[in-house]
């Protein structure tokens, strides 16, 4: 088990390193001269040269990369070109808004999606299942930004129930959460339905039911455990994605999160900020994967007992 854990952690770190390499390569392909970005367009060549040396831009790429990784590990992700603030600080300041939205959206999508999935599995292949399937597919097909815009206008302007965007107390959380959660709810309900129906089809469950076990007991005591795990896995990974920020929703609702920060960074060709946000979100995904893998290890006795999977 320990071996497994260590292996997974090492893999995770390696993946993160790989991600940082790719990010680094991309960042330097982006057409923006860092020295000019810092000094301004009218700076004379001498100033630009001085800044290049200071930023280490005259070193070969692999040395620049090494220096970047070294600093990143110590928490220094550089300074944003446009905003002149530290990247790490910017990310940390925007993270809470993203985290809260992510939590709320994930919670809502599970609260909606799990019962839908259970219902659909219970009435499998019959009218409720079909209806729920169509509903789920509908939810999944709605473009998030369109839904958000309509909710914002109707809820905020016509009905005056909610504030018009921005992060300003719990009421402002409602609309973006709904926007994000509906699609996921539909998706999760289908995952759950499929897995639940499969699980209830297993021999031992059918046998138990044949012996008189009620549908509800069958579902809860036997099938749910097996069915929930894939869902939780998926939700965990999705959650990592949510924590990295959702650009479209944040744009529509003017939510001060990481997604918009990253978008503005790319748009402004603000390389240190781009690299910082990408690395951060990659780190979240890696950590989420790690957590999921560790959970599997914990739950699956084969791994715990040290056998090869």
């Amino acid at each position: 088990m320990l071996v497994y854990v260590i292996r997974r952690i090492v893999f995770g770190a390696a993946v993160l390193l790989g991600t940082s390499l790719i990010t680094f390569v991309i960042a330097f392909v982006i057409p923006a001269d860092p020295a000019v970005a810092v000094a301004g367009a009218k700076a004379d060549p001498a100033t630009l040269a001085a800044i290049r040396t200071e930023l280490g831009l005259d070193q070969p790429l692999y040395i620049q990369y090494a220096r970047y990784v070294d600093r990143a590990v110590h928490g220094d992700l550089g300074r944003s070109y446009i905003r002149r603030e530290e990247v790490a600080g910017l990310i940390v300041s925007r993270f809470p808004a993203t985290a809260i939205l992510a939590l709320a959206a994930m919670a809502l999508s599970l609260v909606l999606g799990i019962p839908m999935g259970m219902l659909a599995a219970a009435y499998r292949e019959r009218a409720p299942d079909n209806l729920l399937l169509v509903l789920s597919l509908g939810l999944v097909s709605i473009p998030v930004f369109w839904l958000g815009t309509i909710l914002l206008i109707v809820g905020g302007l016509y009905l005056h129930w909610f504030p018009l965007g921005g992060f300003d107390g719990p009421k402002s959380l409602v609309l973006p959460t709904i926007t994000l959660a509906l699609g996921s709810a539909g998706y999760y309900s289908r995952i759950l339905q499929t897995n639940l129906a499969d699980a209830m089809d297993q021999e031992y469950v059918r046998t138990a039911r044949g012996k008189g076990l009620s549908l509800r007991a069958a579902m809860f005591k036997h099938a749910m455990a097996n069915a929930m795990l894939p869902l939780v896995t998926l939700a965990g990974l999705d959650f990592a994605g949510l924590l990295s920020g959702v650009v479209l929703t944040e744009t529509v609702f003017n939510w001060p999160g990481l997604g918009r920060l990253a978008f503005e960074a790319v748009f402004n060709l603000d390389i240190p900020l781009v690299m910082g946000t990408v690395l951060f979100s990659a780190a979240l995904v890696v950590i989420a994967n790690l957590v999921v893998d560790l959970l599997y290890a914990w739950l699956d006795p084969r791994i715990r007992l040290g056998q090869q999977v």
Binding site: F11, A14, V15, L16, G18, T19, I22, T23, I26, V29, I30, P31, E125, L133, V134, L137, G138, V140, S141, I142, P143, V144, F145, W146, T149, I150, I153, L157, R190, T194, G241, S244, V247, L248, T251, A262, F263, V266, F267, L269, V274, T277, V278, S281, A282, V285, V286, N289
Partner: protein, 274 residues
């Protein structure tokens, strides 16, 4: 072979087909040129009327024509991007699954790395570097979407490769290419088809999202996502400008989803695992 489609598949297929027809026949179906100003409603969009069934936008362009031509872009980008995704993903998946060992390890780690990179951001970064055009957009979308299919195909290829007859054939010296094509591919095909169909709904949404962020196909080519972006400021006075393109995206995505899920259902009912 019996080929009965269920209701969902049929509806989905019809929706996708109608979309394709509209896209192909756009120049004949659209009443006006989608990029020219055909009404003098500059800065003052007009509501749907008999002459302009879906109204006109703030540059005097006919919304219906723009939606029809928008189908062209959406479908082209969506399908072509999916083709790119499939090509990359299937190749990597098959290679990794079939050859196993270090090749598999290397490819899967590479896939892991790609998975950690946020897709939309990556797409934006690419667009910042390349000149946005239909070709570059679909390439970009294709490049950020292949990781899932790669993993799934790899899993199937892995399990096929471990079957006795394949192992035997390899031991006997059968060329890998032939084995892949004759034995692995046919079993992987259903998954590929389903994922291609379902994946197209994903690429469509990604394209619409990119356009909404004004990073998609550049004007004057009409693009549904961009139409919504241009319409947000007019929502109060001209809500139809934003509603119709949104409905169009919804229709297209739903069509592919119905088709894909319907197919899944049929196979599930027939007891055939994927």
């Amino acid at each position: 072979m019996k080929f009965r489609l269920n209701a969902m598949e049929t509806i989905g297929a019809l929706m996708v087909l109608s979309l394709a027809v509209v896209a192909i026949l756009a120049p004949w179906l659209a009443p006006y040129d989608p990029t020219r100003a055909v009404a003098s409603t500059f800065g003052d969009p007009a509501a749907p009327s008999r002459m302009y069934p879906l109204g006109t936008d703030q540059l005097g362009r006919d919304v219906l024509s723009r939606i029809i031509f928008g189908a062209r872009i959406s479908l082209t980008v969506g399908v072509a991007a999916m083709a790119v995704t499939m090509t990359i993903g299937v190749t990597i998946g098959l290679t990794a699954g079939f050859f196993g060992g270090t090749i598999d390890f290397a490819l899967m780690r590479f896939t892991d790395v790609m998975l950690t990179l946020p897709a939309l951001l990556l797409a934006m970064a690419f667009v910042a570097v390349l000149q946005p055009s239909i070709l570059s957009i679909l390439l970009v979308i294709g490049l950020v979407s292949w990781t899932q299919i790669a993993r799934v195909v790899r899993a199937e290829a892995l399990s096929m490769t471990q079957r006795d007859f394949v192992v035997a054939a390899r031991a006997l010296g059968a060329p890998s290419a032939r084995l892949i094509v004759r034995h692995v591919m046919p079993n992987v095909m259903p998954i590929i088809v389903v994922m291609a169909v379902l994946g197209t709904s994903g690429t469509l949404l990604l394209d619409a999202g990119l356009s909404f962020l004004t990073l998609g196909v550049p004007p004057p080519t009409p693009s549904w996502g961009r139409m919504i972006e241009e319409a947000t400021t007019y929502f109060r006075v001209a809500p139809w400008l934003a509603i119709f393109p949104g409905l169009a995206i919804f229709y297209a995505v739903l069509g592919f989803n119905l088709l894909g899920y319907g197919f899944l259902r049929r196979r599930a009912r027939a007891g055939v695992g994927l």
